[in-house]
């Protein structure tokens, strides 16, 4: 069996020391090892930001594409070659801001890909502006009076869009996160995990300690991921409204419906990248336009 260490790619790492991304990277390598996948069968598609750099540190195929566009790109890879294990990775600015529309449609489409969002509530690579998940009042140089907008709730959105695997993990809970990632990677559909990730440089509110004091495993509270009402209630729990409030982790919701890949009849014929043009069929298609003479 390939160990987690086998999945490391040698080279320099550009993340800040103590960054929550390290916990996510470590959990991902552990999950890939547990699933006994091989690097050449795995493809990570990432967006722009600190999270987008993740595939550079994992031994696998990758396309490190554009800001906010990891999901449609990943869907293109997956539909063209369904044999690949495809993972889309990005940060909160990437997946919830620039790529927010694509995310909603990915929940609807339910492609068989895993989606891991490194959610640190701040823009890191552009050096500290409010992100879609920053709490209202979050002060930055770009929002000196504090952002006026309420934070985006990715879990509630995923549940509302009938997501088939809507989960939250925490970068500081490596074991729990690994467990969720294994499930998301095995899931027949869109395996979405919002991953709470402390940013040691730009987010002085949602620190590692702040999270540690508040998170709990939803699974220990008799949660039923088929219960949409309860899932929505859980998704709305957040300390912003209630200073004593806690933060649930785990699988919130799982709508029962087939994956997009399963529903697409053309994929039953095999991988589209293997399809060969059949000249007879093309000739037939041309002949369909022939106007046969006077009758």
């Amino acid at each position: 069996m390939l160990t987690a260490e086998y999945w490391s790619r040698a080279g320099e790492n550009a993340w800040c020391p103590g960054c929550g991304n390290f916990g996510i990277l470590s959990a991902l390598k552990q999950a890939l090892a547990e699933l006994q996948l091989e690097p050449w069968r795995v493809c990570i598609v990432s967006g722009i930001g600190q999270a987008g750099k993740l595939p550079h540190y994992v031994k696998c195929n990758f396309l490190h594409g554009l800001h906010g566009r990891a999901l449609p790109t990943a869907i293109g890879v997956k539909l063209a070659n369904p044999g690949l294990k495809v993972i889309a990775v990005g940060g909160d600015g990437d997946m919830y801001g620039e790529g927010g529309g694509a995310l909603l449609h990915a929940f609807r489409r339910n492609p068989e890909i895993a989606c891991f969002v490194h959610n640190n509530g701040v823009y890191g690579l552009t050096k500290g502006q409010a992100s879609p998940t920053s709490a209202a009042g979050f002060r930055t140089r770009a929002t000196p009076e504090g952002t006026a907008l309420p934070g985006f709730n990715p879990l509630a959105a995923g549940i509302a869009m009938s997501g088939t695997f809507v989960a939250r993990g925490f970068a500081g809970d490596r074991e729990g996160l690994t467990r969720l990632m294994v499930l998301a990677l095995k899931h027949k559909g869109f395996g979405f995990i919002d991953i709470l990730q402390p940013c040691v440089t730009y987010n002085k509110v949602n620190t590692h300690k702040w999270y540690q004091e508040r998170v709990f495993d939803i699974g220990t509270r008799q949660h039923d991921p088929l219960d949409i009402e309860r899932a929505l209630e859980r998704a709305r729990e957040w300390p912003e409204a209630d200073p004593e409030g806690r933060i649930p982790l785990g699988l919130f919701y799982s709508a029962q419906r087939p994956s997009y890949d399963e529903q697409l009849p053309v994929l039953r014929q095999g991988a589209p990248v293997e399809a060969r043009p059949d000249p007879r069929k093309v000739e037939q298609a041309i002949e369909e336009f022939r106007q046969h003479g006077r009758d």
Binding site: R41, G65, L66, I286, R294
Partner: protein, 592 residues
């Protein structure tokens, strides 16, 4: 009723049969009345009589109401455009009759839905036919009035009724036997009405041809769809936008049979990234859009340039900016397509002139995309895409669709961006055993990992840009007509091909010393060849459908030759051959 010579003898041919080689029939009415389907039926009927037909739909961007018409040009020789005036107008409502009457040539015929009496007006025969009343009597609704009208045209044009009925039967087969009987009855009633009322006074406008051959009848959009199939397209994603939607719809209908993934996606940003993802995975991937959608795609085309992804983007130009005229035509995205980018990367822009050329251009686009691992744009417009064309045949070209891939020897040693003399690096599909494909939109080293090294940056830029040299070797030549000569040389690109060719034919026939050059490869631009061609000309003219002369600017920048004259049109309507001839005549000479 008037006398025979009074209102129908438009070629002074008396009652004798006149063989007409170039007739335009316009079918007009408000949206929802079946103008387009009546136009389609008539088009097919005439193709089956052995004619070449060119049909251009002139429609408003609305689902009901307004005023739409289809210009159907019927000729013995193929035409790649419409004429300014019509010989016959079939109007399905009063407004259409009033508006289109002005298009009639002297001696032309207007058939329209009205209980009024026939008359002659300014030398045109005005023939009211109570189409709605006849259709109603037979149990039909407004669309059937159009069928009655087609029956009348059949009689006027001396077309056999069975020719019309055969097409009607086929076209509406799915609607059941009762609908079929109603259509047949309406066609017959119209035919008899026309024959009885206008007996003996119809010149035979469009007789059955003695020699006959079967032809393909297809729109430019369908030709591009077929080209994609011929090239072995494996992945298509799109977002509906006129005039590109028909390509999405055509390929969606073929998806299962050909094993192609065809996706309708939430927006064009996602479309181009999905196509880029599929191309990265190794699929022959494509999309089609129009100006606004293309604007959203440009970021993704940059990714394809940087990550060296082979993909094909069809751009169907329409007037803009922003929404512009959704259902009309223009060529104002020439420079935008040629130069679209963040920073610099090689791309190809092809601008075919006809549906037939568009088929071959699409096949070629896939071949170039695959072999040079670069984005290829097929730049066309509403006029080419929406028009129906007759084509003798489409040959299956043997395109070289192989990716320049090769398997590296040792496990996990593949270098996606290996520096090569041609600039083209080996390509592998992700999922190849014991190899990894790493690619990114950031600057990268040969392995595909990010690098901010200055020397590497320069080597990588040079490697990518070297592909242009190979692409230049692949450029198609200039299409010249009638030959190499001409004191006046007129330059065009894309779908102006047909109208300009006709204009040149008219003027050359009048004795003008004129020649045309059609450019189908915009990038890389055939600069050397064009410069040589223009060097011999006394006067150089550019003809294009935009307001500033983008082709003229491109010609100047690439060849150093500033055109002496520029002929522009930017009202959303296509050039016509006769209209262009009129505008060129003062420049090129020729007997007006």
């Amino acid at each position: 009723m008037g006398s025979a010579t009074g209102w129908l003898d438009w070629r002074a041919a008396g009652s004798r049969i006149t063989i007409v080689t170039d007739v335009t029939v316009v079918v007009a009415g408000e949206a929802g009345l079946g103008v387009q389907s009546a136009g389609t039926v008539l088009t097919r009927q005439l193709v089956r009589q052995g004619y070449h037909v060119f049909a251009y739909p002139n429609v408003m961007s609305r689902i009901r109401g307004g005023h739409n018409f289809t210009s159907i040009r019927v000729s013995e020789r193929p035409k790649a455009g419409i004429r300014t005036q019509a010989n016959v107008v079939l109007a399905l409502d009063e407004q259409a009759a009033q508006e289109r009457k002005a298009d009639l040539i002297e001696g032309g015929v207007l058939v329209y839905d009205s209980p009024a009496e026939p008359m002659i007006e300014a030398g045109r025969s005005i023939l009211p036919v109570p189409m709605t009343a006849i259709a109603k009597r037979l149990g039909g609704g407004p669309p059937h009035a159009g069928v009655v009208g087609l029956g009348v045209l059949c009689a006027l044009n001396s077309q056999p009724l069975r020719a019309l009925q055969a097409v009607l039967k086929e076209q509406f087969e799915a609607r059941g036997a009762e609908a079929g009987r109603l259509n047949a009855a309406c066609a017959q009633a119209g035919f008899e009405y026309g024959r009885e009322r206008f007996r003996g006074v119809c010149p035979c406008l469009i007789p059955e041809l003695a020699s006959w051959e079967s032809r393909l009848l297809l729109t430019g959009a369908q030709a591009i769809g077929l080209g994609a199939l011929a090239a072995g397209v494996q992945f298509y994603a799109g977002y509906p936008m006129s005039p590109s939607t028909a390509i999405l719809e055509y390929l969606a209908g073929k998806a299962e049979e050909f094993g192609i993934v065809v996706e309708q996606v939430e927006d064009e940003v996602s479309v181009i990234n999905m196509v880029a993802g599929a191309a990265f995975a190794g699929a022959r991937a494509m999309t089609a859009t129009s100006g606004g959608g293309f604007a959203l795609m440009v970021e993704g085309i940059g990714l394809a340039g940087m990550a060296e992804l082979p993909l094909v983007v069809v751009v169907g130009m329409r007037p803009g900016p922003a929404t512009g005229f959704p259902t009309r035509t223009e060529q104002a995205e020439l420079l935008y397509a040629a130069d679209c980018s963040q920073d610099e990367f090689p791309r190809v822009v092809l601008a075919p002139g006809t549906a037939e050329q568009a088929f071959y251009a699409t096949v070629r686009a896939f071949g170039l995309a695959q072999r040079f691992q670069s984005p290829v744009i097929v730049l066309t417009d509403q006029f080419l895409l929406d028009s129906s064309w007759t084509v003798g045949n489409l040959q299956l070209p043997i395109a070289n669709l192989q990716l320049a891939g090769r398997q590296s020897g040792a496990a996990y040693s593949f270098r996606r961006f290996e520096i090569t003399e041609s600039g083209v690096s080996p390509f592998l599909r992700p999922g190849t055993r014991e190899q990894l494909v790493m690619s990114m939109g950031g600057e990268h080293d040969e392995s595909g990992l990010g690098s901010e090294d200055a020397g590497n940056r320069v080597r990588m830029m040079e490697k990518r840009m070297r592909k242009l040299e190979g692409l230049r070797q692949e450029a198609a030549g200039l299409h010249e007509f009638p030959g190499r000569g001409g004191a006046t040389v007129v330059v065009c690109f894309g779908s102006v091909f047909g109208p300009l060719r006709e204009a040149v034919e008219i003027l050359a026939g009048e004795g003008a010393d004129i020649g045309m050059v059609h450019i189908s490869d915009i990038v890389p631009f055939p600069a050397k060849e064009l410069a040589q061609r223009l060097a011999g000309a006394k006067t150089v003219v550019c003809v294009e459908q935009n307001s500033t002369g983008q082709l003229a600017r491109l010609v100047r920048r690439e060849t150093g030759f500033g055109p002496d004259e520029i002929i522009l049109r930017f009202d959303g309507r296509p050039f016509t051959g006769d209209g262009l001839a009129e505008r060129l005549r003062p420049i090129a000479g020729g007997a007006g």
